[in-house]
């Protein structure tokens, strides 16, 4: 991120912030959607996070750390969105046309569905660690720094999250195996 833009936005330059928002909007929204698994909630969280970034930007200590700091505000916005009145309606909205097709490593639609169910059972705390580490390829130390939690807590959350996801995949796979054996 261009630190000059950050510094100018910190001093109240709305044009500089607009450039920052354009540059950061997509990556923030991508992360929000992966944490919240809901397009509407992710849009709301991203919008709120960007506004919070503008509002709190003067308090950013080191402009070079804008990216990590912005992820922290985004995760907070995700917490806030997730804790609002829960929406029980199914998320049946059509995905945008630029949606990538299933990646090569994904074995089946069933796997994706199982993974999605398992992921939704995780708390936002656990999801955030998983997304920052496995989607953004952020090292665990970076995750700890971004979320403002101890490294040990990051490891613990990641361990339990992965265990939960593995359990979801294995549990959903078992009935299929039994049926196949009969």
């Amino acid at each position: 991120m261009d630190t000059d833009l950050v510094v100018r936005a910190q001093s109240g330059d709305e044009g500089a912030f607009a450039s920052l928002a354009v540059a950061a909007g997509d990556r923030l929204h991508s992360v929000a959607h992966r944490i919240l698994r809901d397009i509407d909630l992710a849009e709301d969280a991203t919008q709120q996070a960007l506004l919070n970034i503008w509002r709190d930007l003067p308090q950013l200590r080191d402009p070079a750390r804008f990216d990590a700091w912005s992820y922290r505000l985004l995760v907070r916005a995700c917490y806030a969105e997730a804790s609002r009145t829960r929406r029980w309606t199914p998320n049946l909205r059509m995905l945008p046309a630029d949606e990538p097709m299933a990646a090569d490593g994904m074995s089946s639609v069933v796997d994706r569905d199982q993974l999605d169910r398992g992921f939704r059972r995780l708390s936002i705390d656990h999801r955030a660690v998983v997304v920052l580490h496995h989607y953004l390829d952020m090292p665990l130390e970076g995750v700890a720094d971004t979320l403002g939690i101890p490294l040990g807590t990051v490891r613990s959350r990641l361990h339990y999250a992965m265990r939960g996801l593995r359990a979801a995949l294995d549990a959903d796979a078992r009935p299929v195996k039994r049926e196949a054996a009969q």
């Binding site: 109240g12 991508s30 992966r34 919070n52 907070r76 995905l95 490593g105 998983v130 992965m162």
Partner: protein, 240 residues
Amino acid sequence: MSTDRDITSVLRSWLEEGVTVLPDRVLDAVLDQVPTTPQRRAWWPAWRFLNMNTYARLAVAAAAVVLAAVVGIGLYGNSVGRQPVPTTLPTASPPPESNPLTGTWETGMTTCAEQNAAVEAAGFTARQMTVSDWTCNDMRQFTIRFGLQGGQSDIHSLRAYGNGQLDWDGSYRIIDDATFEAGDLGDGLYYITYRYAIDGDQLTIDMIEDRSPREGQASRLGEQMVQTAIYETSTFTRQP
């Protein structure tokens, strides 16, 4: 049983799916709100201290003391008890409306331990402190000024300073002889309620509610902790 490598591989592929583009309407909504969303200046310049070595901190602290002395002499040397300088000409203004709080009050120098103790005593948990990025600030003297804003008799200004630096600029109104409310300057919204007691030249303040309109729990918590630290770390002494 799935192996760790299987899970990681499947998970990473799955995470690659999903939206990657923020819709223009969301970005437009943000940029539309920016002009009417004030930026929050840092209440606590703690980072400046955190990034300095001990000698630098001492130098800054010494400079702050000298500056405070110079400003104090300038403000009060020839005019004891003068109100904060109004920003408009006072020619047609009504006389100041006085109340027991009117004036300048100051704590002694407070330490990080004392500020943290006040925040903890107010019931904030360690997790809340972490979430809100609470940062104490060692060797900080708090000053609050209850005055009038811009010469208008119906708007009372409340300013809080830390080591002479303006931390909070708002307005207040007296509710009764033990309660006042405060809010951001000039918007007519008083969202913080305080209890107060005056004993001679000593003022004790207890923040009892902060209905901050700020978005986000962390921001609200952070503000509440700062308010708590300013008002509840120590009693205030009336200044001449």
